[in-house]
Symmetry: D2
Subunit: 266 residues, 4 copies
């Protein structure tokens, strides 16, 4: 199965990059499944119902999230109906709306898409390793392939998750740092891994936020209001997978970046 | 000027990778200046006098460090004589031995090599942005080129430093996360930038430390002793620069990775 | 029921303070139940079998712990037999030896002693609020009184736990910061609360560790080996409760401090 | 010299407690100098010009601040004229308006009031120990007495500062955790010390913020808007000092708490 994943779409520039390039990426890679991380699509923080629909209309089958899932109050009104949206599965079960995984059927192949969030330098939520165990056990008989978007800060927690799940899921792809890493590989037991897919949004800013403000914050330690610019050059980052539905493992992982320095090649 | 930078060399596997591939990299890229980050060379933590010499004998001109600089007690005995070793410049001046930058003369070109350390999720030392300002001002008339190894955890702090110094130094290269990023670029005013160069050491472990131990730590939160293995497949990560000594800016930045999945190509 | 709690006993000075003053405190307050936090008794980090016995022989009925529970390797050999020792209940169930609560029967009164650990600025373990809910539900029919030692860093997390459990347990007493707070009170629904009981150990040091080393660490950010001194003036901190076994609530909470500035008064 | 210090005044309840009880405290202790921490007076976050005046009119001579100093945008308009307001001295000099200390003359006695902020688990600003050294050196010939409000999270950083300055300043009083500690003492070389003075505001909430919201935040990890209630029972916390202007040291330190459980005693 051919799969495309696109990293954290941020604000209006991110929306434009997504709607412009996802069709071209589809022509190029002919994915049967497209997954997009949408945690920053609404002005850099959270998601709204129209923007959830925009991602689906742009061609995504599943939208994954992260620590910004609930930043827009509006999400509480539609998350329980949003069947294609997954938020980190290891938020506390008793108090968190929405779902931590979803199943997608493509022809006769069932893919489970799981979203998990790390705990190092982010919120102290439930154990992502224990939750991964639980979900893999629960899904392995229902799915031909399992895909994990692990939204985490440190390289160590992401690498630990990937090695922990190696051979049990088809892919562990990291998000959250907004910078794509250059370590794509297939681990020995068949799991495709990339520490971070990178983000989709402004190219000349800092993680998608206005760079002058971010620099000011670091230099002054005074309160600064971060904003994502509405126009300017954009970038899109993600990766292409070939997963083997017979073995549940990965055959190929190939990251891509589109930006003014790396124009899209058909 | 052609420059090679090699990311955090870790333990014995890192030493072997360095001594094996640095000569080959030199044949390939013919660098006039070679810089190696050595903060993890002694069993993953710190550096000793023989290992400092080993790096120089392997072909390095300058050794940069990071938050592990002082992990081996022995460093206090030789750091003040180690003219080619730079530790983060923003450790407190009054109490920190060693130097935060060094000047290297190659033919008639003088290059200043600065080491700085971030403060987000690491030690609260002096302001790296203010120290960068101070050192750039101090060095700009003495140097044709300035190279910065910024040892920091988060992508935001590294990007902020790069944009802050854009046009004032030839290169800002990040270290510390041990995973190479895929965002090498020349910023608009001419500074070469890469969020992280990656590390040089074990390939099938987590940041160079035994992966079973790291996973155990995440799963149990019990005390675990991390160790870097002494044998097994290795990786080497770094990048190649072409810097323009007339303008003080960069012309080219090209990361490289050597590992079992990406064999060295002459 | 009259209860005494004594805060984190640290190293040899802490042992001496405990064995010297616990008998005098018993004469003064005539407690029917004595609980001692022992997480720092072995040189400031962890506990050994002989020191566990020393605490019991000094007159304690239950020993509570905290983030240092497993610092001494030896604990893995005896924790499962140590029926009077409780470690934080919200460490992961699958991988943590020992128990998170114990029941003590005094005459016909059954007291449940629970140990929980916070997650803000400490290890990211399981949710202490959810675990508290679970244990209170489990114990309420088996116990006449429930006592909670909540080992946590921030005042907010401790206050939140106390208000959350108000009326459901007899007492929530904080530990970990090693400084006694001056906010002892009975909350509106009957739970006795003190943000921190303070520690039992050296009086002229920093949290029980050699003060010169701690100051050096803050000033230099260099590696420093912390040690707890073996002799010198000591302090003991704790509190006295009167709990009502008929209602499961508290009637009285009175902190005490013994040190050279505040000598013990019979 | 008799001095009163009052901990972090929070919101409207804090204002009421201050204006109600400061006159009574003045009658009781007859202080010659009154210092009030005002970092939370404006709805829990920051200060405005009218509220700065309110504190002075209530009877304060100096207003100290902390990490919330700049939360209300309005402060940038008046801080440079606010001669009686001190913000943490170790914010970066180049970019921070306002002053880090002030001198007050009472009869013929000159008192220097310094505000410093810790770096552990708060903002990474300049080194408070180095800044303390610098200011003490600068002020010691100009002042008879030096008073330090050290706004910091951890007990270790506060104790380290107190022992570091022992004998060089008359008092080191901690703020920020909003809970008064029970460890008031005069250190061996004469510096009065209290780890935290506590806060002045709502009594039945968490650190002054609505307790239901804080508990919800801990339990859900969802975005929650913290608010300080405008009415309800209040508390006031602070301490009374007797400082010796001839020696620059302290003779007495006596904390006080006023709340429904501990009514004010004339
Ligand atoms: Fe994101
Ligand atoms: Fe994120
Ligand atoms: Fe490193
Ligand atoms: Fe490092
Ligand atoms: Fe402790
Ligand atoms: Fe502790
Ligand atoms: Fe405050
Ligand atoms: Fe504060």
């Amino acid at each position: 199965m051919r799969v495309i994943f696109i990293g954290d779409v941020m604000g209006e520039i991110g929306q434009t990059m997504l709607t412009t390039y996802l069709p071209k990426l589809k022509s190029k890679y002919r994915p049967q499944l497209t997954i997009v991380n949408g945690e920053n699509i609404a002005s850099g923080k959270g998601i709204t119902r129209p923007l959830y629909k925009l991602i689906l209309q742009a061609g995504a089958d599943v939208v994954t999230m992260g620590n910004h899932t609930f930043d827009k109050q509006e999400i509480f009104e539609f998350i329980d109906e949003a069947k294609k949206l997954v938020r980190p599965a290891n938020y506390p079960a008793a108090t968190t709306p929405g779902q931590g995984y979803t199943l997608v059927k493509i022809n006769q192949v069932v893919v489970g898409v799981i979203n998990l969030q790390g705990r190092v330098f982010i919120n102290p939520i439930d154990d992502p390793f224990a939750k991964a165990d639980e979900l893999v056990k629960q899904l392995q008989d229902k799915c031909d392939l399992i895909f994990v978007d692990f939204h985490a800060e440190t390289t160590s927690e992401k690498l630990a998750m990937a090695w922990y799940l190696d051979g049990r899921v088809a892919a562990v792809i990291g998000t959250h740092t907004h910078v794509q890493t250059n370590d794509a590989r297939i681990l020995p037991k068949g799991t495709a891994y990339l520490t971070d897919a990178g983000m989709t949004g402004p190219y000349n800013e800092i993680l998608g936020m206005n760079k002058d403000r971010v620099i000011e914050k670091f230099r002054t330690n005074l309160p600064v209001r971060f904003e994502t610019p509405k126009s300017g050059p954009g970038q899109l980052n993600g990766c292409y997978f070939e997963l083997d539905e017979k073995t549940g493992r990965a055959r190929k992982l190939q990251p891509f970046s589109i930006n003014p320095d790396r124009p899209f090649l058909e």
